[in-house]
Each structure stands twice: as C-alpha cells, then as structure tokens.
Amino acid sequence: MVVRLPHHPALQSVEALEAALNAHGYVPDPALSMALYLALRMEKPLLLEGEAGVGKTEVAKVLAAILDAELIRLQCYEGIDLASAGYEWNYLRQILALRVAEASGAARLDDVFQREFLIERPLLRAITAGDGRPAVLLIDEIDRADDEFEAFLLEVLSDFQISIPELGTVRAERVPAVILTSNRTREIHDALKRRCLYAWIDYPPFEKELRIVQTKVPAAGEKLAREVCQFLQLLRRQDLYKLPGISETLDWTHALVVLGQRELDEAIVTRTIGCLVKYQEDLRSLRPETLAGLVRQARE
C-alpha cells in the first residue's frame, strides 16, 4: 500500500490551498498557489526559482505543516553524490559482520549487501514508508549541484525509485510531494525541468510584504512595519548588485524591534543598513544623501 498525499481539505481547490497557506503565515501570489496546487494534485515536482531570500524554502516548510507531513530536506552543494543524498552502505558493520562470521566459524556471510546494512539518506528516506506519514521532500538549491547529480535525480523523480546495484531497485512505498528550489546560479537542465511544474517567486509588492512582516514580527508596531516596507520597496529600485529579499526585511525588522525603534529615522537606518545590504559596492553606492532621501520618502 503506497502512502500518498492525503485527501486533505487544503487540497480540494486552489482557493482552499491559498487559504491554508495564508493561515500558516505564508502569503502566496496566485501563480504560486496554482502551480503548487497542480503539482500536488498531479504528483509532479515543483521547481521554484527566484532570487535568494524570497521565501522559496519556506513554501516547503509551510506545506509540511499544513499537511502534517514529514519534511525531508536535502541541501544540495557542488559534488553532492549518491552517498550523501540517496544511500550509503554501513561499511564498518559490513566488515565487522564478515570478520565475526569468519572468526566464529559460522557459515560464511555471503551477502553483506542486505537492507540492514543500508543507511538511508534523504532521497531514500523520502520514498520508504517511514512511520506512515506522508512526506514533503525539499531539494534545496538544486542549482548548486552538478550534472551528474541531476541525472541521478531524474530517475528518482520520474519513477520514484532508486536502483541500488547490490540490492536491486527500491520502489516507492511512499510518494512524497517534491519541491525543488533554485537561485538560478546555473541553468537546470531541460530533462529535469520537463518533469516539473514551474513557478518564479519575485520580490513581494508592498501589501504582501507588509502582511508578512506583521505576521512574522508582530512585535513591530503598525507604524514601523509600514515604514520598513515602504523603505524596502524604494530600496529595491536602487541599482544594487544584490537586492535585499524578504529574509533580510524580517531580520532588519527584528533588529529594529530589539533596538526599541517604533519608527524609522536616518541615523538608525544608516547604522543598521548592513542587515539589508551586504555587498561592499552596494554599501558604497548608497551614499548618505540617498539613504536620507529614501528614509524621508518611506515616512510619508
């Protein structure tokens, strides 16, 4: 009996899913809600692309909370291989088992490649039954992995099975919801993209960002939240090498709350701008007059 995603009320319609996301503190845009809904219902992976810090990873976490599913996270990096992502043999145990068999004179242990010697890593864990809960598999920053890894991933994502040479093919006892995220530092290959539905997550508009700030940092007063969001909208129109994302906004708001601010002023912004802008050239290009102007506009 293959464990699939449950017939959850949140999965009845796009609107229901949107409402559930909102209820859990994630503010989606219509394109994302639709893409996520379709991905879940069609059992296809969802590829989320966007700049760093716009909330791609958050989607998976919220989804797991909504569906009461196990969140299995695979963080990708260059050179990530089968052993870290899929499975690995417990070599020490194998060698010991061989030695023990030999020493005790028992029948030769011919096959050390049994399931008991297999260490399950995220991809394998995602498709094995676990404790019967459904699973959300988050493959984070797939653009940092390389071609070989993508090729391997293709097999897992198309047929939800993993071929282990010594053991055979492990087929899915559980079909997870799959979300891949990418910061676009590399173009994902077409073969993988073809398997997925796609959504681009952009920097949020004012209203949306305001709601996010109010949800995540309730300690910030109404005035501060508004001014912060206005400031961010203006800041993102500047010619910066790296525009600040939502996570930067939230960090900054937190910092301002910790510093006891109820509103923005030029001095505090100048001192805390490092929460938002983290590149030297960007900091240099934001001259004091520019910052002052932005603060003024944000407070109108």
């Binding site: 809904y37 050179g79 030999e102 676009r184 993209k193 050239e281």
Partner: protein
C-alpha cells in the same frame, strides 16, 4: 454552476494551436506539456481567464525569460478566442462550432546590418550549375567555377597564420575560418568536489569505502587493497565578452568564427557581444552549421558597428549574468580594442568586479598585433590594472597561442594587487 470555459471537444485542438503559438513566440513546447496542461485544466475546471492563465503558465513556462513571451502569446490567444465568441457562450453566432485558427505572430524582420556583407560561400553547387548553364551557349567545355580551397605550401600556411585578420582576402578568410574550426579548445581543468575511486595513489580525500569493501569481499573481508577518493577534474567554464563596435569592425567577422569554434567544442562556454548594449549569443552559436549560426547571430544583434560603452556592458553582465555563468572558477575573456565612449569610473568599477569574480581575466586586443601599439586610450589604461593576461588577437597565430595558454592554465588564481 458556471459553464465550463471551453468545450472539451475543442479544448484539445485549441491547446494544440496554443502550443503552436507558443512555439512561434520562442517557447519550446513538447507533447508532454500538452498532456499535462489538459490534466491540469481538468483538475481545476477554470471558469475565468486568470485560472486558465496560471494553470497554463505553471506547465508551459520553464524559465523566467519565457514569462513575457508567454504573456504575449496568451493575450493573443485569448483575444482571438474572445473575438470568435468561444468564451462562455457557445456556439458561435452562425450556430456552427468553429475551430480556432490563430494567426501566428509575424516573423521578426531581419535588420539590415552595416558592415556585415554576405561572404561568397565556399560551397555553392547551384551556383556552379548556373555557371555551366550560362556558358552552355558559348563554350560547352568551360569548367564550373573552382570551388576547391587551394592547398598551400608550408611557408604560405605560416604566412596566413601571421597575417592580420583585417588584411585577409576573401579566399584567405575562408581558409582562416576552416583552420579556426580545427583548433582544439581545451581549458585548464579545476579540481571538482566530486570524487572517484582510485587504487595505489595517495590519501586524496580519504578512503573510498564502497570500492574498498567490494574489493575486500574477494578476500573475505580482508582489506587488501585500499581505494582512495581522488577528486575529479572538470573543465573550467569559459565566458567570452566580445566587442562588436565600429572600431572592431575589421576583426568582428573572424572573431565571431573564433567564438563559434570555441563554443562548438565544449559545453560550458557562454558568449556575449557588446557595443552599446550587451547581447547573449550563446544559443545562436549552437547550430551545427556555421553559416546558419552566423545568420542567427546577425539577426539577433542590434548594435553592430556602433559606439562602444564597455563599462555599461560589463555592468549589465555583472548584474544579470555573472552570478549564473561565472561560478565554478570560470575564465573570462574580454575581446576589445579598448576604444570606449563611456565613463572611465564605471569601467573601472565593473572590470574590478569582473576580475574578482573570475578565476582569470584575459583581455584580447587585436591592436596588440602592431608592434608599435601602446595602450594609450583611456579605456585601455583604465582596464589594464585589472586584467590578468593582456594578449593579442589579430591573427591565427595569436589565437593558437591563446588555445595553448588556456589548456595550460595554472591551478591557482593569479596573484592580484589589492585595488582600492
């Protein structure tokens, strides 16, 4: 209950038409997507345009750049449906159900390009036949025009290699092109994080357990041979930024061939050209047929032989592309004579950044072929401190040298002065 948007009978056909509209707009569409979009529509039974739009978008759009193309195609498609009254109210006015025939967007016109005249092609059998026809009346034994590339002696070949690109005759140009295509392009390799097992070598990155245990099985668990994890090497990515402004005119034709040759051999090469704007021509150069590739490039570029704004072009590159193509220790090659009409400060900032984010920054200057050349222009002077290798690119010999240099790249980053 609101009526379903499009009758199922027509839906499939209309989706196929929509697929064609998308293809004409430049978005690749495969049959799998058509199946997917039908499934999607069945799941959500759209009752208005936005739902249809978002569902189709989730399936058809695969990258950010396709989004505006998709929007346009969708708008076209939808307005056509509306025009034929195929939205909520069925059937169409005269009572019959019609298929939707969407007029495809017009083919983009190929701009007339200054400075890029048609080269006489080396192969033209049709032309040869025509020649024969023409002469049929006068002299039936007149041979067709010679199409064979003359075989040169060694010294002649050497002379060709040394001859400046700007001075080549059309026939020599043709030969040079052929020779360019034959150059082998290998870029120095970098150590990747991926490893593979190897026996009998040093510790590398630790034991390769799987290979070790498997080998030990033959000896009932005795670790007779140890396998080590040795890092794989991968070729470095290469990024080319070529100046195609007026001052580079003499060299542009051949240099494009050079870019094509480099691109053909390898997978991780990105090619951009700039004049007053930056254009990515990597995809255009992917064609098997070199002439077709050149044609596409010509169609794509809008700022041939105009002015140069190197700083602005580099800034566009740094902001929009650098993060995507310069990771993994890429080598960047800028091909330009350094004649620049933009601001020097901008150029300085951007080339400094470019150097920092590249493993190695090479500047190829065709003018360096002239022994008398001194880099006195403001552009060149500004850029020079931030360049790791300043090399000529005026003839085949210089490009061959470049090929050799690239394959012998040092493993370490070049030592760079700290700039303010």
């Amino acid at each position: 209950m609101t009526a379903p948007l499009l009758s199922p009978a027509l839906l499939t056909r209309n989706l196929v038409v929509f697929g064609r509209v998308l293809r004409a707009s430049g978005i690749a569409v495969d049959p799998g997507q058509l199946v997917d979009v039908q499934r999607a529509l069945a799941l959500i039974t759209p009752t208005d345009a936005p739902q249809f739009y978002y569902a189709a978008r989730a399936v058809f759009v695969r990258r950010l750049e396709e989004l505006p193309l998709f929007d346009r195609a969708f708008a076209l498609f939808w307005s056509e449906l509306a025009r034929r009254d195929l939205l909520p109210d069925f059937p169409s006015p005269d009572g019959r159900r019609e298929d939707v025939v969407i007029p495809l967007p017009p083919e983009p016109e190929e701009p007339v390009l200054a400075g890029m005249t048609e080269e006489p092609s080396g192969k033209r059998p049709a032309g040869a036949a025509a020649t024969v026809q023409e002469h049929a009346g006068t002299d039936e034994l007149a041979p067709p025009r010679e199409q064979v590339v003359p075989i040169r002696t060694y010294s002649a070949a050497e002379r060709l290699r040394q001859k400046d690109f700007g001075h080549l005759t059309p026939a020599e140009l043709e030969e040079a092109r052929t020779l360019l295509q034959q150059l082998r392009w290998q870029v120095g390799r970098r150590r990747a994080r991926r490893t593979h097992p190897a026996f009998g070598v040093g510790p590398g990155r630790g034991l390769h357990w799987r290979a070790t245990v498997r080998t030990s099985l033959r000896a009932a668990g005795e670790l007779t041979r140890l396998a080590w994890r040795v890092p794989k090497t991968k070729p470095r990515p290469l990024v080319i930024l070529g100046d195609i402004s007026g001052s580079m005119d003499r060299y542009t034709r051949l240099l494009l061939q050079f870019f094509y040759a480099v691109r053909r051999g390898r997978s991780e090469v990105e090619v951009f050209v700039f004049g007053t704007r930056l254009t990515r021509i990597t995809r255009d150069l992917e064609h098997r047929n070199v002439e077709e590739a050149m044609r596409r490039v010509a169609a794509h570029i809008l700022d041939w032989s105009g002015g140069t704004r190197i700083g602005a072009a580099l800034r566009t590159f740094n902001r929009q592309w650098a993060r995507r193509v310069l990771s993994r220790g890429a080598v960047t090659i800028v091909v330009s004579d350094g004649w620049d009409r933009g601001e020097a400060e901008l150029l300085r900032t951007e080339i400094a950044r470019l150097q920092r984010t590249s493993f190695r920054l090479i500047w190829l200057n065709p003018l360096l072929g002239d022994a008398q050349y001194q880099p006195l222009t403001v552009g060149m002077q500004t850029a020079l401190p931030y360049v790791d290798d300043f090399l000529p690119a005026h003839n085949l010999a210089s490009l061959t040298d470049l090929a050799r240099r690239l394959s012998d790249l040092e493993q370490r980053r070049p030592l760079r002065r700290m700039h303010r």
